[in-house]
Symmetry: C2
Subunit: 271 residues, 2 copies
């Protein structure tokens, strides 16, 4: 039978395509990947909408226990749902490769992803360079390997899309030390946190990839009815409340006239 | 009322989202932009599916005669359909700005675009640099401004997505000289033509942005049921028949292990 890898788009149950919905309705078992992104709707509501139980698939389930998903896919169709587009993140490549190794036909059903919807900020998608991911800093671990990528994009006049960290199902080590398996509540990096971290790195590196005065666009809940887009300097965005997750950030490179025109409506001063 | 700018995705009538279809069904007037991309289905069939007449909107209509589209949008909902995602190309920015100037609320409904679906080639979307457009060469006009962009991407290890030219409703100047208004049949650049032009430019510039031996991936009809993806050197792709439009081309930068693994299935030698 078939493993359908179905993009759900960015908003809620209404953002699936007709092709995607038809595929889901063929499947008895329906998994939802829930550790790289989130929809603006609860998975139970999604299940009600499909008339199917929607099983949450965390990182363990997808990366080390793919058998749970692929088991039985030889006998009946299985749907693996992904927020956004299934191929825009690399996370699902493994699952697809394993399915092929097991001779299970894979059908990918595309949808909108943050990497396309980022064009909502008014900057031209053609002029984006490589994408970076910004992880949560900890006391000991403050990685900055993405800095060089932003710098290279900037020198070439390109914009940079920064995807912000998500922590889902993080173990609570304190509780575990006391012998209990407990997970911390999910955490989603805000635009404010991302900007704080970026400014800290620039202060350390001082190679001029950006500054507090660099034009950026913060975006929250892209593609959802209450999406919020605000353009301003890094320093300005530090103090803007973007509300509920997910957030992402664009660091502008060279900004052309038409882009200026589109950005106007999102300026901090216009809010 | 509302101007709905609705992405149709890449395949056929089944690739619209539920949200998009609901919007179309609210509208009496439905336009389809038909000069930057094409679906794998005729616009009349699309109209039958919606139960609406679908009016083709060419470049003149959208860029200089937007009034035809916006006329009446104050009194009733209007849908403007775009293959792929409405914001991934910059073509539709003007229409959105003009609608806002006229105080017509605009709602954008996202969908999959070639800029996301290009990840189907097995190269990671994160590692793509700026996108280039390759225009048809003529006897007198052989522009190569995109060469520097490919070069800059390459030096930074990034892949380049090249979108290939489309000529729809081109005037037939010979006929026009004889006083008749005649349009030439539509033309779509093939992967083969793109590669020919790229090799000609490298021979002229000789700055090493790529060579005949550079790994590329040619893609045709992305997101459609008969999509074709072939990976090989530029020289190899010169001779591969990709069939019907649309085609696009990825010029690979640094290729990582996981990307190699994904590319294997598409190699010329595997076809």
């Amino acid at each position: 039978m078939v493993l359908y890898v179905v993009g759900l788009g960015l908003g809620d149950e209404q953002d699936i395509t007709l092709r995607g919905l038809n595929a889901v309705k063929k499947c008895k078992r329906v998994f939802l990947e829930n550790y790289t992104s989130v929809l603006g709707i609860d998975h139970n509501k999604l299940g009600e909408f499909y008339g199917r139980e929607v099983i949450l698939a965390d990182r363990d389930c997808v990366e080390t226990g793919a058998d749970q998903i692929l088991d039985g896919a030889k006998d009946e169709d299985v749907a693996f749902l992904v927020v956004g587009d299934p191929l825009c993140a690399t996370t699902h490549t493994d699952l697809i490769i394993r399915a092929r190794e097991l001779d299970i036909p894979v059908q990918v059903i595309h949808n909108a992803s943050v990497m396309g919807a980022a064009a909502s900020c008014g900057l031209q998608l053609y002029s984006f360079g490589q994408t970076v991911s910004i992880p949560f800093f900890t006391e000991e671990w403050r990685p900055d390997s993405f800095y060089e990528k932003i710098l290279y994009n900037k020198k070439g006049g390109m914009h940079t899309l920064a995807l912000l960290d998500i922590k889902v199902k993080e173990p609570d080590f304190d509780a575990m030390a006391r012998g209990r398996i407990v997970y911390l509540p999910p955490r989603f990096m805000t635009v404010n946190q991302a900007v704080e971290q970026l400014i800290e790195i620039e202060e350390k590196r001082q190679e001029g990839a950006y500054s507090k005065d660099t034009l950026c666009v913060g975006m929250a809940r892209l593609g959802q009815s209450d999406q919020k887009i605000v353009a301003g300097t890094m320093e300005e965005l530090r103090h803007v409340d973007f509300g509920a997750p997910l957030h992402c950030l664009v660091i502008a490179g060279d900004v052309h006239l038409m882009e200026e025109e589109m950005l106007k409506q999102f300026r901090v001063s216009e809010q």
